[in-house]
Symmetry: C2
């Protein structure tokens, strides 16, 4: 069984690689990553001989033969990163999925991590998979949102005309170990700021809500959907935590762990969705027994513990560069 | 002034080429077309030495130098065509626009014909450009709708990060001479059926509405927006006729010209939008003096006259093949 994971050096991708290596039927695992937002350190613990790491843009993937299972996770996922290089983001997702379809063995399975961002700034809550979304296809988040939507279209249309076996998940916010300290999203921002004794910065009033899933729970959902559960359902499938928490509440929780840290407010990020919460009806049907198990507070504590051990965080200069670029990207 | 038109052999593209040739400042006009849905006969009247025709997929365009103006029209636009080859449709639009951006001279202008299909099955009427749409990104029309949305995202994000000069229009339904007889959409279907003494086939009850713009009026709108009018507005700009007419009314009007022709109803086309009408507020502001001038009835009469002279229509076998394939594509 030859398996390929694009973006396997990333936050979620590297956890998926770990999980795939628990499978005996996986004889070869090719990790494809250009280490743009992924990091080699996310894979440095792996000694398994089945793993090969290929450093390349997925959309430029050379001939690597055919695979039985392909998981396409290659994409930046945080606004400052994709807003900095929007065309590259589109290429990774859209041309990436077209390239990977060519590397799929007949009757092989291609799994894709789409995103709750396909719902944009949703007008219904919680969001069922049937909700068509409210995305500004000309806006500053469009490279990510629209390339994920277009990649879904490619997969579902490939299934319709060619019978391709697909599994498409829509991930809601995920947090936990291996998030980049300069990722730029709330949980990792707040923790890395607090750890360095800097103020916690909240974009806007912080009343925007998200549904944060701890990475172990999310990977468990992916594993069940992609290979453990005998389901023919192609997706789209919401995978996330349906406990909705405001950004300011996250900031306050992190602050409770670092009591001297102030919270400061910055101008709102452009077109920041006001709310986000998965309708898990289909997940409950397709993945019986699956649910997010790690309470949010415990997840934050675990993330703090991981970030505390992360040497990189002590490099203020690195973080300042990242902060500068976040600022320029977000506050147009 | 070097100008490139992708899809210049198509229905709208070839009319745009004719219009561009009226400009003295256009010294070279490269038509890029793979003649998938475009036709060489649409260009056979052109003797102008400035025109060069390059038969290639736009996404595989070889090095042709840099251009001052590029107009990207290459895409099938009719459901049976794009539903037959959805991945090729995505490639033409998305990889096409990425490729064309590389062929744009610094400070050059790229114009893109997007579509009212970015609104999907709209929940507001008329549709202003700010309406975010109701598109099923997993549905049988998604290859077209989502690749147009994604191409818009690419252009607006290219403008944001690189200052690229862009002009994006969203075309509503267009009809008139040079439509393929086997295009598969209402007006051309009805006329070609009636001309051959066959029943007029209406998908569903025919109460779905469209806004049909006669091609001369639409090309006039494009010319004004793309080069005649001194506007920095990048779009998106609705260009269409805001007179909303039901499909059954079109069928009846064509029937009034061919009184013995029956109208028969077929099952509805999948995810056929129920309504479509442009809000022209921005068009009225940006293109003062422009409006659709040709009354719909006169446009139909002109289209009938053109189709009557078109020899291809008399080839029943050709049409039957097209009808078969329309049926298989539309009635899943």
């Amino acid at each position: 069984m030859r398996v390929l994971v694009s973006g396997g050096g990333g936050f979620i991708g590297s956890h998926l690689v770990d999980r795939l290596l628990l499978r005996d039927d996986c004889t070869e695992l090719l990790v494809v990553d250009n280490f743009w937002t992924g990091r080699r350190s996310n894979l440095s613990h792996i000694t398994d001989k089945r793993v090969r790491i290929l450093e390349t843009d997925v959309e430029r993937l050379a001939d690597v033969g055919l695979f039985d299972e392909i998981y396409h996770l290659a994409s930046p996922a945080s606004p400052p990163w994709y807003m900095e290089e929007p065309l590259r983001t589109v290429r990774a997702n859209v041309i990436g999925v077209l390239r990977l379809l060519e590397a799929l063995r007949p009757n092989g399975l291609i799994g894709f991590t789409s995103t709750s961002e396909v719902y944009g700034d949703p007008l219904v809550s919680p969001q069922p998979e049937s909700y068509r979304g409210s995305v500004d296809c000309t806006g500053p988040r469009s490279s990510y949102d629209e390339s994920k939507r277009c990649s879904e279209a490619i997969l579902f249309e490939s299934r319709r005309v060619s019978g391709t076996q697909i599994k498409v998940v829509r991930l809601f916010n995920v947090f936990g170990p291996r998030t980049r300290p300069d990722d730029g999203r709330a949980v990792s921002n707040f923790i890395s700021q607090a750890l360095r004794g800097k103020p916690i910065t909240v974009y806007g009033n912080g009343l925007q809500t998200r549904s944060w899933g701890y990475v172990d729970d999310i990977i468990d959902g992916l594993a069940r959907f992609f290979w453990l559960q005998p389901t023919d359902y192609p997706g789209p499938l919401n995978v996330g935590n349906d406990r909705e928490i405001s950004v300011i509440d996250v900031a306050r929780y992190v602050q409770s762990r670092f009591p001297k840290t102030p919270i400061v407010h910055l101008p709102p990020a452009p077109q920041d969705p006001t709310n986000r919460r998965p309708d898990l009806t289909i997940a409950n049907r397709e993945l019986p027994g699956w649910a997010c198990q790690v309470p949010y507070e415990e997840g934050i504590d675990r993330a703090i513990a991981w970030f505390s051990k992360n040497e990189e965080l002590r490099s203020a200069s690195h973080d300042d560069v990242a902060a500068e670029f976040r600022k320029s990207a977000l506050h147009m």
